[in-house]
Symmetry: C2
Subunit: 166 residues, 2 copies
């Protein structure tokens, strides 16, 4: 181990995590693509939100979240929610792609020390920076898993979970 | 940064990731608990597997997976699948709890260097150790999200996604 003995061990480096997340985001994008245009905005099970609303949540959290963690500048979550609107699949995919770029461009500004520091995301959720990012990431997998059930409910074969590339 | 300058930066340390995963596993356990005993083994949407089958997949991957990555001893996945059976909620929860212990007990045997090494999980899926662990973790969130839809379909309020403790 040499010089690393006194330092914190690494499960994932920041670069590794970013690549892993963008791989997942690529899969989420493919899920949006296979949804029928109308069902994306209307289909629901058990009173839940349609998949488009779940995707808009991922868009607001991911894009504004990483920007906030990189710059320390936060807008309230309610304002972030109003910022992103889509009424067609194309609008949703365009927003998705702009967030992909936004995450990639702000990510290098988050210093390695910063991941263990505490921040208040959107001025309201306090936690360590890595934890807040994991929340955005975990929340995407959670809601995308729900999108898989919607697609199965619609009789549509979803893209395989293991097939990930950015 | 001092001595850390020459080493790999850390998004999450192995201990941080373990705590994060066990927090998620605590939430998954609460989801199993709120399922009606019969629906856990019978309810399905769109031809998907019942939640008990998804949970048995998490149990096989998590428990045998971490043991394999720690020891280098693998059983084929098909054998792992046969190893874990449950026909009641109590049996499922008991298996869940034994895997919680198994993960905690084998985890410290995975050395920090090992997370960036390559292994072949269950003798069939090749990848870096961190990536294989993330697969077990991501797959749990993915299928648990599907369990949320099952519960909503059954008219049952699931435990909140953000409420996590081991």
């Amino acid at each position: 181990m040499g010089t690393t003995e006194k330092t914190q061990a690494t499960f994932m480096s920041p670069e590794t995590f970013l690549a892993h997340w963008q791989g997942h985001r690529g899969l989420t994008r493919r899920l949006i693509e296979v949804f029928p245009d109308d069902k994306l905005f209307t289909y629901s099970i058990g009173g839940m939100r349609p998949f488009s609303a779940l995707v808009l949540e991922m868009i607001g959290m991911g894009g504004e979240g990483v920007k906030g963690l990189a710059t320390g500048e936060w807008i309230p979550y309610a304002e972030s929610e109003k910022k992103f609107k889509a009424t067609t699949k194309k609008e949703l995919l365009d927003l998705w792609d702009s967030v992909t770029e936004q995450i990639n461009s702000y990510w290098p500004q988050i210093t390695p020390e910063r991941f263990q520091e505490t921040d208040k995301a959107f001025g309201q959720w306090e936690g360590k920076v890595y934890w807040l990012i994991m929340y955005f990431f975990d929340n995407e997998i959670h809601h995308r898993g729900q999108g898989y059930v919607y697609l199965r409910g619609l009789g549509i074969e979803p893209p395989p979970f293991w097939d990930r590339h950015a």
